[in-house]
């Protein structure tokens, strides 16, 4: 649906060969190790992966929020509206952050300031980026709260975060992100701390605001169920690299990377009752001790000798579906050509 948009108008955000290294006492952790992704206009893109795969660091790098040191942006370009954010002065970056690109964090309780009212916190970004008289500011805050589905918005502006439920706090966080009508919202696991019924509401809210405001959303999650319910396109990350990218339907229908296949096959569902679950052996490597060659090879059932030595290339399956596994790409070529 958004694919056409994307080719007609170019990308809103384009990240190229991003590398973020963390320097420890005795080792360098290559948390993000050459990542390319893009977000088109009016598109919801998911970065999905397990803890430590680099998805959060990639997203924070977009906003210049990775602390350097200990981190170092070793290479890459982050193009947003034709500017490279990595080479922008702090002052110029500040005009984008919270204004044209906004962020929603995972833990609404720790991300909200307990001593300021909800109204103060939603208004903060507007005060910084737009000059609005007080009464208009108040109206704007109230209408934002209404947009995110909080009843009696006018009265709730005076509430403190502890007076709200977890779901309401996350709605407030989203209202804060929406305050300056950003072109892009980056949401880092925004529903992970919430109950399933509240999660369903927040996911619904993301879909409806994305449609009504024609924004782009970069959504970070580890939950494939969430991916299936919000994303237009998906990037699967493993150990600091992108191993597969595709539009959502394609990824779930025909996953091409052994890691993606393994993850999807290991999900417990009631239709698999009685069967033994497929499980990926081993565990996620630490960013400081990544195996050479393909970082997934020690856990991969398709691995061959060359996987130990050669870093795998991206293989193009057509229709923007790419997978970083030349072994499967070659092995299944005859089947695809039929």
């Amino acid at each position: 649906m958004t694919k056409d948009n994307f080719t007609e108008t170019g990308d809103l955000l384009s990240v190229e060969d991003l590398r973020v290294h963390f320097h420890g006492d005795d080792a360098v952790a290559r948390a993000v190790d050459g990542v390319d992704f893009r977000v088109g206009h009016n598109e919801t893109v998911c970065l999905v992966g397990e803890s430590g795969c680099g998805k959060t660091v990639s997203a924070l790098a977009v906003l210049g929020l990775v602390p350097c040191p200990p981190a170092e942006i070793a290479s890459g370009r982050i193009l947003f509206a034709a500017q490279d954010l990595l080479h922008l002065e702090e002052e110029a970056l500040r005009r984008i952050r919270g204004n044209r690109i906004a962020m929603v964090f995972q833990e609404p309780l720790t991300s909200l300031n307990p001593v300021f009212t909800v109204g103060d916190q939603i208004g903060e970004a507007i005060r910084i980026h737009r000059a609005l008289p007080d009464d208009e500011l108040r109206l704007r805050c109230a209408s934002l709260l209404e947009d995110v589905g909080i009843a009696d918005a006018e009265e709730r502006l005076g509430d403190y975060p502890h007076q709200l439920s977890g779901g309401q706090r996350q709605r407030v966080m989203i209202a804060m992100a929406l305050a300056c009508d950003p072109e892009l919202i980056i949401a880092d696991e925004p529903t992970t701390a919430l109950d399933v019924t509240v999660q369903a509401q927040i996911l619904g809210l993301f879909r409806s605001i994305q449609q009504s405001r024609s924004m782009s959303v970069l959504y970070i999650t580890h939950d494939l169920g969430v991916v299936a319910s919000v994303a237009d396109r998906v990037y699967v990350m493993y150990a600091g690299i992108i191993v597969e990218q595709a539009d959502t339907a394609q990824l779930f229908r025909a996953p091409q990377h052994p890691y993606t296949r393994g993850l999807l096959a290991s999900l417990p569902t009631r239709s698999r009752r009685g069967e033994r679950l497929h499980s990926i052996p081993g565990s996620v490597p630490s960013p400081a001790r990544k195996p050479p060659g393909c970082p997934f090879h020690p856990r991969c059932s398709y691995a061959v000798e060359s996987c130990r030595r050669t870093f795998p290339a991206m293989c193009d399956y057509g229709g923007q579906h790419m997978s970083r596994c030349p072994v499967l790409f070659e092995a299944e070529k005859p089947r695809r050509q039929q």
């Binding site: 397990e50 803890s51 589905g149 779901g167 109950d195 399933v196 019924t197 999660q199 369903a200 509401q201 996911l203 619904g204 879909r207 409806s208 580890h222 939950d223 494939l224 169920g225 969430v226 991916v227 299936a228 319910s229 959502t248 339907a249 779930f252 890691y259 393994g262 993850l263 999807l264 290991s266 999900l267 417990p268 569902t269 009631r270 698999r272 009752r273 033994r276 679950l277 497929h278 499980s279 990926i280 052996p281 565990s283 996620v284 856990r299």
Partner: protein
Amino acid sequence: MNEENSDIRPILEITGLKKYFPIRRGFFQRVSGWVRAVDGVDLSLASGKTLGLVGESGCGKSTVARVVLRLLDLQEGSIRFRRQEISRMTERELKPLRRQMQIVFQDPYGSLNPRMTVGQSIGEGVRIAGIAGSRQRRQRIAELLEMVGLSPDAADRFPHEFSGGQRQRVGIARALSVNPSLVICDEPISALDVSIQAQIINLLKDLQDRLGLSYLFISHDLNVVGYLCDRVAVMYAGRIMEEAPALELFEAPRHPYTRKLLSAIPEPDPDRRKTAAEVAETEAAEGSEAAEATGCSYRPACSAKDDSCRDLPDELREIQPGHWVRCTKA
């Protein structure tokens, strides 16, 4: 409560279980009210089976676990474990039974002592289980580690040297060290990475087949419960709203709350993406949760309520053999 097939004896039977926590206020810490965390729960777990207990945070499911293990005292009700009433037992009477009931916790980081080696953590249980000689004890520790898929030399290492999934395996080995028959699993996989969860689920299933364990499996993850459990009980605000065989509960849920929970599962299938109307339905069901004295406790949040819900008592009724629902409309 529910009659299992008469040839399978329940290992655990809970009836009318209540646990209230006091709310204290003021300088003298006077009790000004009660949080009814568990408010009349009936459950029964057949030997060798898995009973899922699901519900959202704060519904009282972990409190049930702690009361069943007598880690917390109860207000009212009965807990029968292997046909013995344990709710009023003294610590001394309980001690031999404690060995038979174990728990696996959610957080594999917080639940292992960082200053004890894995062997020491597991060894405590092995000693309690009555294995005296140090060589026999080492052998038993090695056996337990292998049983959960770890190598025996893990015994000399400390918890911080292991990944989350491996630590959860250690937690399971520790629970098994005293040869229990009932294991309560309190969200045992929710802190683990997706690719590790399947490993632990498979392990729990293998151990059940091998050792004939009975599981009370507490979770908020309905996908896991639907895969693993024989029966499922849905808990809301301290009470069981519905209990049924797992497949029946998922395919023909009868309580509005169960339906709401099931519709909220994000399914890993983009073709089954919820429509805006379905989400709106969930929204409408969100209401104030002020408890009222009479009628159905789910009424304030219910999308199917009418006036009769205020007057009729909300009792668990068996609407089909083995399928219990706390809703007068079901």
